[in-house]
Symmetry: C2
Subunit: 122 residues, 2 copies
DNA sequence: TCCCTCCGATTACAGATGTAGTCTTATATG
DNA sequence: CATATAAGACTACATCTGTAATCGGAGGGA
């Protein structure tokens, strides 16, 4: 049911992934001010996310409390897979290789990833 | 100038990243048949990619030869960075951690990445 | 020479997206 | 009690995308 979360919708999900449930007004307060959104825009995003099943809402007096229905990790997994499929032939290693070539890995990143991989090995 | 390459446009870029220059008809032949596109659709994509500066074309008699202006690696870098910024707080290590947790790394991936990282270290 | 065909250019049109504005209704306040 | 507000519901509208169809001109065959 949750087809695709657009970039704008993602900003709303981000807020609710950090803290939920929240009212529409509370979500609007927490949206990255850099977007310069009016609260109407936030309400539109909430309505669209509800319609596509990414959020649930429960009544709280005469307003709603919104809560995510998709987990951030699930969404991240889907998006990562799409990127890897589209750009790296479906395999993760070329993505890491790519990041490495582009110097997008700090020494700290490298250390962390090595530790991770070590832990993964049988 | 190359703002965003949509999913459909990406299918066309993929063909031209593999082989260029090509005529519109040649691109159409090479598009993944799974898309079921008419050649009109391919022409539309070519026109849009031209307009947004992702392709160049040169005349060849009464038709054009198209070639990419953005490199696949550059595009991959931009898209990877966007994903990492949006979903992983701008750091690559959590992405790899995430792939690991989701069992999206095969033993071969792990071996390859380890070798890569080893080579990166001073 | 005249028409058919193949190409690019232009136009179409519905659904998604960004970005709100207006309508309706149920409280809260004077 | 009457009315101003504030929430959600519905509507708006331009742009981007997917997916073509149509128009107009240049070459090639009859």
């Amino acid at each position: 049911m949750v087809d695709r979360i657009s970039d704008g919708e993602h900003a709303v999900m981000d807020v609710l992934w950090d803290e939920a449930p929240l009212t529409a007004a509370e979500v609007a307060e927490r949206i990255d001010p850099a977007r310069g959104w009016s609260d109407r825009t936030v309400k539109t995003m909430l309505a669209r996310l509800l319609a596509k099943g990414a959020l649930a809402h429960e009544e709280d007096g005469r307003r709603y409390l919104y809560r995510p229905l998709v987990a951030r990790a699930d969404y991240a997994a889907r998006e990562s897979r799409k990127l890897i499929d589209r750009l790296f032939g479906g395999r993760a290693a070329p993505l890491v290789a790519h990041l490495a070539e582009q110097d997008q890995l700090s020494p700290q990143d490298i250390a962390e990833i090595e530790a991770l991989l070590k832990a993964l090995k049988p």
